[in-house]
């Protein structure tokens, strides 16, 4: 858990004002919320700060002592200085208290959320997956078996995908017959349809998982629209690779692009409406009274529609692919599938490069 050091403004002057007492107060309070990892790091933070402060304090010590010698001649200055120090100390103390309270609040919310997730996980009878990737353990440490199954299947799907891309490359260079090429193209198409089926299944298990795109690489997620790529975006990439097209083909592809865009807009607007509906349902009644389960339960019902959206978005992707394969010749379709596959590979490579690219530490 992050505990930014900037939240604790080191007070240069505080070193002289009962440092031990300060640590004791913060330490006890942190222990009471039962989060040992926070208290340990905070105590260390505070320790370090005060250590630094005591160093600076020692540098500043000579000044007051100088003042002492001239006490008789400048009592006003000394009082003023003392008052200023007090004000400063009080201000710093208020800041620290505010930061501490904010930390406390967010921890409390997190605790509530953790308890809820634990409760839900228990109700659904989920098991704790052994040996599975930690990426989807979330907070509660239990893994949805639907997700675990999908992850494995997707890994395998990617392997088959890469193999098929290799076959496409070979087939295009080898000048095989159109009939044979057709088979390769059909395999490629079916493979994508397989992915949509897989996604539909896991969407029933956890639609947010599909929406989040955790199973994809980061660059792919950047382009995510309702759990996958925007068909119109992919069309743009494809069409550029498919020259030369006949006039008739250009006309049909243009129509397809437009229909695709319209369908995407319709779905996007539906999603916005869903957001409005869920938000309005959640916010119904008075906020701040403490009891809110009916609203949450009703909002959950509305949220079920999200599964429909994911399915419809994939349906749109599938229909667009189908339509393209009708417009193009077999050879063009093969080149198209290859182009698409390589484009996605480049996105995945981009993600890897990004992850391993050396960056300045935060």
């Amino acid at each position: 858990m992050d505990f930014p050091s900037t939240q604790f403004v080191p007070s240069r002057m505080m070193g002289t004002y009962e440092p031990i007492h300060q640590i004791g107060m913060w330490g006890e309070n942190f222990k009471s919320i039962g989060n040992p990892s926070i208290s340990a790091s905070v105590i260390v933070e505070v320790d370090n700060k005060l250590e630094n402060e005591s160093e600076t304090a020692s540098h500043e010590m000579p000044v007051p002592s100088c003042k002492h010698d001239q006490e008789a001649s400048k009592p006003f200055d000394k009082i003023q200085r003392r008052l200023a120090q007090n004000r400063e100390a009080a201000r710093k103390s208020r800041l620290r208290k505010k930061a501490y309270v904010q930390q406390l609040e967010s921890s409390r919310l997190k605790l509530i959320q953790l308890e809820k997730e634990l409760e839900q996980a228990r109700e659904q009878g989920l098991y704790i997956g052994g040996g599975l990737e930690a990426g989807h353990l979330g907070f509660s440490g239990v893994v949805n078996p639907g997700i675990a199954a999908f992850e494995m299947e997707y890994k395998h799907w990617m392997q088959v995908q890469n193999r098929q891309l290799g076959e496409l490359r070979t087939a295009l260079n080898a000048q095989i017959s159109d009939i044979e090429l057709r088979i390769v193209v059909e395999n490629g198409m079916s493979h994508y349809f397989e992915l949509f089926r897989m996604k539909s299944t896991v969407a029933k298990a956890d639609v947010f998982y599909v929406m989040s795109g955790t199973w994809k690489t980061s660059a792919e997620r950047f382009f995510s629209w309702i759990g996958g790529f925007r068909p119109s975006e992919l069309l743009k990439v494809l069409v550029a690779q498919l020259d030369p097209l006949t006039d008739q083909q250009i006309f049909e592809v243009c129509n397809l692009k437009q229909s695709c865009q319209q369908a995407e807009d319709a779905l996007s607007q539906g999603m916005e409406k869903l957001q409005e509906t869920v938000s309005a349902t959640l916010a119904a009644g008075q906020l701040g009274q403490g009891t809110y389960f009916p609203q949450v339960a009703m909002a959950m019902e509305k949220l079920e529609a999200l599964v429909c959206f994911v399915n419809q978005a994939d349906h749109l992707r599938q229909e667009t692919l189908q339509q393209m394969s009708h417009i193009l010749t077999t050879r063009q379709a093969a080149r198209g599938l290859l182009a698409l596959g390589e484009y996605i590979q480049r996105l995945q490579d981009l993600s890897t490069l990004w992850a391993t690219h050396p960056r300045e530490p935060a």
Partner: protein
């Protein structure tokens, strides 16, 4: 069997009469409501008299998507809200009215939202989406007199 099922039906333009309206009115959405008495015969009449009718639950977001698609083509669909809790009965009734049109829900159950074109059952969002992409939707709408371009 003639028991009234509460439907609320309204046109996206201000009047229920089908006539030439400016396409801009289509986008005002949710005009004045007209409560039909909801008997099967009046629903049947609704379906027969209007080129495009969409049956859906109130506030259903999928219904919204279907409407956007149809409106985008310049059609002027009549929306019929199915009352909460009465979906089963409504679907039963719609299957009876729909008869041999389209492959609504793949021969199984009709799903809401359900679209009727030219007095016949056309299908759900799935079919609207596929025909929209394949380009079949516009001719179908034209044949039913939903578009006058």
């Amino acid at each position: 069997m003639q028991e009234a099922i509460p439907y609320k039906s309204y046109s996206t333009t201000r009047a229920t009469a089908v006539g030439s309206r400016s396409p801009l009115l289509n986008f005002l959405g949710g005009g004045g409501g007209v409560v039909a008495n909801g008997s099967e015969s009046s629903i049947r009449k609704l379906v027969e008299e209007n080129a495009v009718v969409v049956f859906g639950r109130r506030g259903c977001c999928m219904c919204h998507v279907v409407m956007r698609l149809l409106l985008g083509h310049g059609a002027n669909p009549v929306v019929c809200e199915v009352e909460e809790g009465k979906e089963e009965a409504a679907i039963g009734e719609l299957s009876r009215i729909g008869g041999g049109g389209g492959d609504g829900g793949g021969g199984g159950g009709i799903q809401l939202p359900a679209v009727f074109v030219g007095g016949k059952m056309f299908g759900g969002l799935d079919r609207v989406m596929s025909t929209h992409i394949s380009g079949e939707l516009v001719p179908v709408l034209k044949d039913a007199g939903a578009l006058w371009l």
